[in-house]
Amino acid sequence: MIRFFSKIWDGFKEYFILLFLIIIGLILISVNQKPAVKSVRAVAFGTFASISSLVSDVVNIGQLKSENMRLRERNAELMLQMNKLREYGIINEELKGLVKLKDTTSYPLIPVRIVSKSLSTSQNTITLLGGSNNGLKPGMPVVNDQGLLGVILSTSNDYSIARTLKNMDLKLTVKDERSRLDAIMKWNGEDLVMVNVPKTYDIKPGDRIMTSELSSIISIPIPVGIVMELSKVETGIFNEVKIKPYVNFARAENVFVVGIVESKQKNQLELNFFNRK
């Protein structure tokens, strides 16, 4: 009997080991959201990022960092201000011209630098030089002077990992700035698309897309991209709207984290409202 099993093991041990390792891999996938795994991950990427930031410094040594930072911060502030004004302009045109909207919102910007990027076709992530010690929290939007880059996924003391828009796991509610229509936007591995858009929706190529106030992740208006084309027009009842992002993800180096996290209290309140009998 032992000889029999020994013979099987000798003949197929590579396959048994492969199967064993794949099963461990599947178990790891299932424990992704466990707090212990998250804390191990925070330590791992924090350690690695501290080394890669040194290399990143050498790579970027030719840049005039401080001046760039100041100008980019100014640019980002102006971008957010301009977008806010654009919003106000459109609302004014829509019967609210005489209503004075009080600006009670100010967006704190935390300057951070990208120390490494993990570019893949489905799971783009960036590591930022700035963590919980700098006031960064999971859920905060990452922007630059062009628009939205992504959302912070996880933080350690000094570093953070953010999912970019080119990550299949990040889905955002966005809005057409002109027609004020909302839809879900996601990365399909090839393009940034608004999915399940009814054919009756008034969305045209060239329209600006921004984050929607309906979003439970980012509810302040941040520019995302511009409508390129409508696909699946001939078939079905829904269109798919391709969006060209404003941000060049490969070139982005210095970015800002908008220091706001969507209020859980607000989400719970809305949820309770919808659930009430």
Binding site: K13, E14, I17, L18, L21, I22, I24, G25, L26, I27, L28, I29, S30, V31, N32, V37, V40, R41, A44, F45, F48, I51, S52, V55, S56, V59, V115, S116, K117, S118, L119, S120, T121, S122, Q123, N124, T125, T127, L153, S154, I161, R163, K166, M168, D169, K186, N188, G189, E190, F249, A250
Partner: protein
């Protein structure tokens, strides 16, 4: 830890730093060559299939932890890649595989498998078609990685196999 595994881990750390900092400048449409894959294929051929699988598992685990991708997705893809590359670990042909045009072709095959499996497990969008996954997320990254692996063939010292 045995030096058999220790030295590849040092190379892994160095290549991962290069991959996440420098290689972004040569990305084509968001696709970057996978240096870790080239390293894994090299060591899998140089040693054996079991070594390749274990090394792939370790590389994948560290890669997932460090880059923030779905923990387990690279573990599975790199383990399967090590298994595939290990098929070419033949004592008589090892030198030929590592120092000829065959190496980029093996990297291409492994790159396609690795990218495809990684995308399959890390993508939450199950409506994405198989053909799309194969083409966009398998062949293109595989081709780019294989073309970079030609450099390894040029700089490979012949005496290292004897």
């Amino acid at each position: 830890m045995r030096s058999d595994y220790f030295i590849p881990l040092i190379f892994f750390a160095v290549l991962l730093i290069i991959q996440t900092t420098v290689l972004n400048f040569i990305s084509i449409n968001g696709i970057v060559p996978d240096l870790i894959l080239i390293l894994l294929v090299f060591y899998s051929i140089k040693n054996n299939q079991i070594y390749g699988m274990v090394l792939g598992f370790v590389f994948g685990f560290l890669f997932d932890l460090i880059t923030g991708s779905l923990l387990g997705s690279s573990v599975i893809s790199k383990t399967i890649t090590g298994f595939t590359a290990g098929y070419f670990s033949n004592e008589n042909k090892r030198e030929f595989y590592l120092s000829s045009y065959a190496f980029p072709l093996i990297v291409l095959l492994c790159g396609i498998i690795d990218s495809f499996v990684f995308s399959f497990f890390s993508s939450s969008d199950l409506r994405t078609s198989f053909v799309f996954l194969m083409l966009q997320q398998g062949i293109y990254p595989g081709l780019y990685t294989a073309s970079i692996s030609i450099i390894v063939v040029f700089f490979m010292p012949k005496r290292s196999f004897r």
